[in-house]
Symmetry: C2
Subunit: 144 residues, 2 copies
DNA sequence: GGACAGTACATGCGCATGCATTCAATGCAA
DNA sequence: TTGCATTGAATGCATGCGCATGTACTGTCC
């Protein structure tokens, strides 16, 4: 009745299901833990991390939203609102870009950097639990 | 100022970012394509697939929601509503479980099986584009 | 039998997301 | 200069999600 997948397709499906399981386990635990203990969502942490990297690496301490966008897997609107949340929380500053006044440059505040540094160990621990082991259990709490 | 990740941590982070990118690429394209052409979300397709597998394999043509739940990475409430959508679309039937009247047994309708069979090639094609190649471009449309 | 903890699913609610649209600023062409 | 397509970001809206809770049923212990 139903046609079967070719071996190649079956492999892809298996790979996809594994990816889904790992992603769900890690994302669920990250959102829960980072949210509970630091008031950050997974993507919020990701954005803070990009800003920290941008500051430390580029020398320039400000990052344009349009530069940030391709590195986080969010729609433009979702990123815009996420930044608004971070700004409201006092973790980043939004300023007009002088070179191109359509653009917005983001600056990590001291509070933003501190929050990131505090949250990072937990983030790494969750990754270790969910990706390091052979697929950690669905949604278990880390030790700390 | 900022402490560095250990090599092990750096590896985990790289693995996590790769996983995020693959997941985003595949999930985005699956949702868009399956949605546009078949009115199905990624998880909806996943549930239909579990039902098809349950029918073909188990011999029993009905699956309990509680059996389905652990295989899809959704909260119980999200799954409940997803099933409601599928039922509303005429793709599955909800019936009370005779053995345990708290439970709900799901049956794939003929329309549900047809929809799945029609959508499957596109699903496989998207997986091939996004996972088969070395990380396909963010959100490109497949050929068919 | 009756009380009570546990399980299976549904629902109210708030929130984050994506799409479509809008607004402002830029670049280019006539 | 004016006009127009393009780009960067914000916003209205609909939708799907998770959490907390509610409802119905089961099994156990007294």
């Amino acid at each position: 009745m139903a046609e079967l997948d070719s071996p190649a397709e079956a492999g892809l499906v298996a790979q996809w299901r594994d990816l889904l399981a790992r992603h769900a386990a890690a994302a669920c635990m990250l959102d829960r833990e980072l949210g509970d203990r630091f008031g950050l969502g997974m993507s919020e942490f990701e954005v803070l991390e990009r800003l920290v990297e941008g500051c430390d690496a580029g020398g320039g301490h400000a990052l344009r939203v349009s530069e940030l966008a391709p590195t986080v897997h969010l729609s433009q609107s979702a990123l815009s609102r996420l930044i608004a949340r971070l700004e409201k929380a006092g973790l980043v500053t939004r300023a007009m870009c002088e070179k191109d006044r359509r653009g917005i440059v983001l600056t990590l505040t001291e509070a933003g950097r501190e929050r990131y540094e505090q949250a990072r160990p937990l983030h790494r621990e969750v990754l270790d639990l969910t990706l390091g082991d052979g697929l950690g259990k669905p949604c278990e709490a880390p030790s700390g």
